[in-house]
Symmetry: C2
Subunit: 308 residues, 2 copies
């Protein structure tokens, strides 16, 4: 991780090897997802091939990794948080498959590969998304359940983050905002729901899987909310500053679709500054963990400084 002169960076220059951590946790999530999903040959094979195609298309596993790291910050066992980490990744992947459809963002590429409907057709892509959303709840229902967070609590958490007031609300507002002049307030409404809600949920679920205290859950909520917003602003910035090749997906698509973005509304420099401030706030929220949240800190810095 490059040294930075930022407030957060200055405070948190530690020898934590994020690359090794990401490699290890991503592999653990991949193995668990492979176990949880029906095999590609299971009848009807088309749907399981389509589900696996997008689920194993090289995603960064950011949400499940945040979930595992949050559990570790609360002294949880990674095995206990894996089902929830996988559930969140299934929801994230379903939302991408549906967002890429012609009736939505109409994207041909995602992570450098053809989008699901370009390979399997629109009908199967819609069903593969539906199946991954359903699979998320099937996987989550198999979690251990904890004294402070029984199954009903955990499943309600996921359903609410993915539902019509959060994740889906963000996508609806995003669709409806296309081509319109929208305010910074409206853009924040979209970002909070379309991106921050599920990232925040990932961190919270990690805490829950460690049977965390109410104060720890509050800290993870603040952390996830701010990291989530910062993540989307950086995404907006990369969309206009990077090439499609670097991103592995269509660059400049926000501009083309006349979507409002932070850079378009407040400018590039101000956007970078806001992302930095949000990351600082995310770091502040982690104080309660007294040095045990090193993975979460490193992840937040990495997400701020990434170039794709």
């Amino acid at each position: 991780m490059p040294a930075t002169a930022t407030r957060a960076g200055a405070r948190h220059r530690h020898p934590f090897d994020l690359q090794a951590y990401l490699t290890d946790r991503t592999a653990a999530v991949d193995r668990a997802l492979d176990r949880f999903l029906p095999e590609a040959t299971t009848r009807p094979a088309t749907i399981h091939k389509a589900m696996r195609y997008s689920l194993f298309a090289g995603g960064k596993r950011m949400r499940p990794t945040l979930c595992l790291a949050a559990a570790e910050a609360c002294s949880g066992w990674p095995d206990d948080s894996l089902p929830l980490a996988c559930a969140v990744e299934c929801i994230h992947t379903y939302s991408l498959i549906h967002d890429d459809l012609p009736a939505m963002d109409n994207d041909d590429y995602r992570r450098g590969k053809l989008t699901n409907h370009k390979v399997f057709g629109e009908g199967i892509a819609i069903l593969a998304g539906d199946a991954l959303l359903t699979q998320a709840f099937e996987i989550a229902a198999q979690c251990k359940g904890w004294p402070r967070y029984p199954h009903r609590h955990v499943l309600l958490e996921i359903a609410q983050a993915a539902g019509s007031l959060q994740l889906i609300a963000g996508q609806v507002a995003d669709l409806e905002g296309e081509g319109k002049k929208i305010s910074a307030e409206q853009l924040k409404y979209i970002h909070e729901r379309k991106t921050s809600a599920l990232i925040c949920c990932s961190a919270r679920l990690g805490g829950m899987s460690a049977n965390c205290t109410a104060a720890q859950l509050k800290a993870l909520t603040d952390f996830g909310y701010n990291v989530g917003l910062a993540f989307q602003i950086i995404d907006d910035i990369l969309d206009i500053t990077q090439s499609s090749e670097q991103l592995g997906k269509t660059a400049g698509k926000d501009t083309k679709a006349q979507k409002a973005t932070y850079p378009a509304i407040v400018g590039l420099e101000k956007s970078r500054k806001i992302a930095q401030q949000l990351t600082d706030r995310a770091f502040d929220a982690l104080k309660i963990f007294r040095g045990k949240a090193v993975a979460l800190e490193a992840l937040a810095m990495y997400l701020l400084q990434r170039d794709r």
Copy 2:
């Protein structure tokens, strides 16, 4: 209910007033759904209007009513089964919205009204389906939970019935079978998953909400499986014998889409006979309830004899 000369009909000619029962239970389900769903004005209003448009489009509430009736057969309280009945109806409605999309069955009418995407556009229709599927789990997570059937058990039941091995598998096989010559075995595979799985799940959930015994659950499974298959065969028959006006949806669409149906494979008379046999089997399964399953019996007869 008309008197019949059938085996099932002859054994079960009782004074049960099915029409009054359906009116009462449907109203209870409607009220509960209205309570569980965000209001139509809740931001973003479009998605909540779209969800409510299809959810309150005059559906027969067959699945939730079966759920309530199954609970009553096991001496359960209707209030305890209502969240699960509503969850099942949300899943049913989501599956109809997605099935009607141009990429699937491409239907303009459903229950005599324009389909969701004809009113709200494809993007919002996809999201309204997603939101109803998610809402189902949010509602189910709010059930009471029972000693024999804790929340994780109930939610797993719903996720599996709606997942890629059941409901979605049926839709995939149905899509893939269009225009192809398929066998009676393949058609049964489709019907079992596309229709019977969720109907069977509805009956089982009703039993679970009454903390039913293993033997009662087995009986409800047999009942639901057979009633579900009979229901779909009757649907196939009505598709070719009734007009669009009578059905409130496009008639003859199976033939037009070159879909395999029971009448097409085994003929109309044989199809009617199979539906009757399945209903007989459903009745046999109810013996264990010793006369307490009157509502389930009446529902099974009604579904066999309906003309739309």
